[in-house]
């Protein structure tokens, strides 16, 4: 089938061009310009690793790394935990299975911009549902600006994504469906309670998929930009500033392209480190059998 060679190339080429346009060229520009002093309307000079050092001396950037790290840790633990518990409950396939799964998925399938807007309304100091509820339960004239008060801004932003672990739950449920029913029956015959079965039988078998879900959850924290832009823009001050928001501000408000791209390289590096670390923790890639 050697005459197929021409066709194989023609079939692959469009995808390779697409990849080059979106990823390859971008990565070359990103890494290349991180060693220059490129900003809008000026000529470009090579400056070595100056940007990399400068960034580490920028308090806003350090704050953005710290916030991103905290969010990665929270997402890898609490978010995953919520997803696992939800999956274990739904695995019993009760009457509410489909309804619960659909409802839980809603925050994950709507636009983050819209989700941000929903929460902005819910937490609105004047008419928001949260403050209304608190007033209803007795605190007269209660008014709290959840997103813009420095004491609550971080936790309020966190709440817009931390509980919504439907994707984690779906991954685990799919994996559970592939487990041989006999194993559960054997556990039942041995007199294990449902709780014991979950802890000692199901969860160990789910180790790999939980690891994969943790990678996805952790790396999703390197992408959070839209919801922060809609709700706080990283404020008040730099309270909720994360790395994507820092890059956006540096590139598009200050037009400091090379500095933004240096931050982009740091962002990719942080992603790689998280992936490797999580793989190590879960012992993935190694076969248990």
């Amino acid at each position: 089938m050697s005459h197929n060679k021409k066709w194989i190339v023609l079939f692959l080429l469009p995808a390779i061009i697409l990849f080059s346009f979106v990823y390859a060229i971008s990565l070359i520009v990103l890494i290349g310009t991180s060693f220059t002093d490129w900003s809008i309307g000026s000529s470009i000079h090579f400056v070595g690793i100056k940007n990399y050092i400068d960034l580490l001396r920028t308090p806003d950037f350090i704050k953005s790394i710290l916030n991103t790290l905290i969010w990665i840790v929270l997402q890898s633990t609490i978010h995953i935990g919520i997803g696992v518990i939800f999956a274990l409950i739904l695995a019993r396939k009760k009457w509410y299975f489909k309804m619960a799964r659909t409802a839980f998925m809603i925050p994950n399938i709507i636009s983050s911009a819209a989700l941000g807007m929903l929460f902005l309304c819910v937490f609105n100091p004047q008419f928001g549902a949260v403050n209304n509820l608190i007033r209803l339960f007795g605190v007269k004239n209660f008014s709290h600006n959840w997103f813009m008060d420095p004491r609550t801004s971080f936790i309020t932003v966190t709440l817009t994504w931390l509980p919504f672990a439907a994707v984690v739950a779906i991954l685990i449920l799919a994996e559970m469906a592939s487990v041989d029913e006999g194993i559960y029956e054997a556990a039942k015959v041995d007199g294990a309670s449902e709780f014991q079965t979950n802890i000692y039988v199901t969860l160990p078998m789910m180790k790999n998929i939980i690891g994969t879900a943790t990678v996805l959850a952790a790396t999703s924290m390197l992408q959070k930009l839209d919801i922060i832009m809609i709700t706080t823009s990283g404020g008040p001050g730099n309270r909720t500033l994360n790395m994507p928001m820092f890059i956006y501000k540096t590139a598009l408000s200050q037009n400091n392209f090379s500095l933004a791209n240096t931050a982009g390289v740091y962002l990719i590096a942080l992603g790689l480190i998280s992936v490797v670390l999580i793989n190590k923790i879960y012992g993935m890639g190694k076969s248990d059998v």
């Binding site: 194989i8 079939f11 692959l12 469009p14 995808a15 390779i16 697409l18 346009f21 979106v22 990823y23 971008s26 990565l27 520009v29 990103l30 919520i82 619960a100 799964r101 659909t102 409802a103 839980f104 998925m105 809603i106 636009s111 983050s112 911009a113 819209a114 941000g116 807007m117 929903l118 309304c121 004047q126 008419f127 209304n132 509980p163 919504f164 994707v167 779906i170 991954l171 994996e175 449902e194 709780f195 998929i209 994969t212 990678v215 996805l216 790396t219 390197l222 992408q223 930009l225 832009m229 809609i230 790395m243 994507p244 890059i247 956006y248 590139a251 598009l252 933004a260 990719i268 992603g271």
Partner: protein
């Protein structure tokens, strides 16, 4: 023992109620509030003492060019999904079915796309799109979105093609069918499940995307729906009802697509993540 069981049931009930409450509560609250007048929203009355009001929706369409944004979003979502599916089903077919030099390196290269967070690409893509004359055009967004879905679609397609028996094509070749003919007439018809699974995920990605729509367009002509909320946040600020209505209008299509094609979304998420 019995006591413990009830306790267990109670905890499950509380957990589920809480999780589902915060998942759909905000949307339902905004949805119902979108039929209220400004004063009713501010005084937080429950129910609809003055009847359902559609006025907010009319105001929302008047305050922001929502119709234009809707059309743009539909064009970008359909275009980005079609381009993505066509290009990647071709590449996935070639990679799943044939051996050629450099195949593994190509696979590795393409899967690198998974490791690059979108925010890192903000400025470089802005420059590429600008120099190629695609800035502030719907076509530019279509290409960028088709690229963002590359790893997921490629993976779903490849795994599906690998499950198809080779005999399927061999008999076609024996009958003298060409490479392209075999792909279009034999493979594509049986690959429908892969197309719908990858297609739904890609459609939602295009429909919901915000940050690149924001950086790669300017002016109202080529903006998509999610941007409406951002740009008109301040103009809506005086008219809460219209703000609620606009939020509902942006959210509803995703929810409808999801509920209609739920099983595909679920199987797509499960398939797309088992890469490692």
């Amino acid at each position: 023992m019995k006591y413990l069981k009830y306790m267990n049931q109670l905890l499950i009930f509380i957990f589920l109620t809480l999780i589902i409450g915060i998942s759909i509560g905000p949307f339902l609250w905004v949805f119902f509030s979108s039929f209220k007048g400004n004063s009713e929203i501010l005084s937080s009355v429950s129910g609809f003492p003055n009847g359902l009001k559609l006025k907010n929706y009319i105001t929302a369409f008047q305050m922001a060019p929502l119709a234009r944004f809707y059309i743009n979003s539909i064009i970008v979502a359909i275009g980005g999904t079609l381009l993505n599916l066509v290009l990647l089903s071709m590449a996935a077919y070639a990679m799943a079915r044939f051996d050629f030099k450099g195949k593994n390196s190509l696979k590795l290269l393409l899967s690198m796309a998974l490791l690059v967070p979108g925010a890192a690409l903000l400025q470089p893509l802005y420059i590429t799109v600008k120099t190629t004359g695609l800035y502030d055009s719907l076509f530019g967004l279509v290409i960028v979105y088709a690229g963002f879905g590359l790893p997921t679609t490629l993976y779903i397609m490849m795994s599906y093609f690998l499950t198809l028996p080779k005999e399927l094509e061999e008999s076609a070749y024996l009958d003298g069918a060409s490479f392209v003919n075999t792909f279009v007439k034999i493979i594509l018809p049986v690959a429908k499940p892969a197309f719908s699974t990858a297609g739904v995920l890609q459609f939602l990605l295009c429909w919901n995307e915000f940050q690149f729509a924001l950086t790669l367009t300017t002016g109202n002509n080529n903006r998509t729906l999610p941007l409406a909320l951002y740009y008109f946040k301040s103009s809506f600020a005086s008219d809460y009802g219209a703000m609620f209505a606009a939020t509902v209008l942006v959210t509803i299509p995703s929810i409808i697509v999801y509920i209609a094609l739920q099983e595909h979304v679920v199987s797509g998420l499960a398939a797309g993540s088992v890469k490692g």
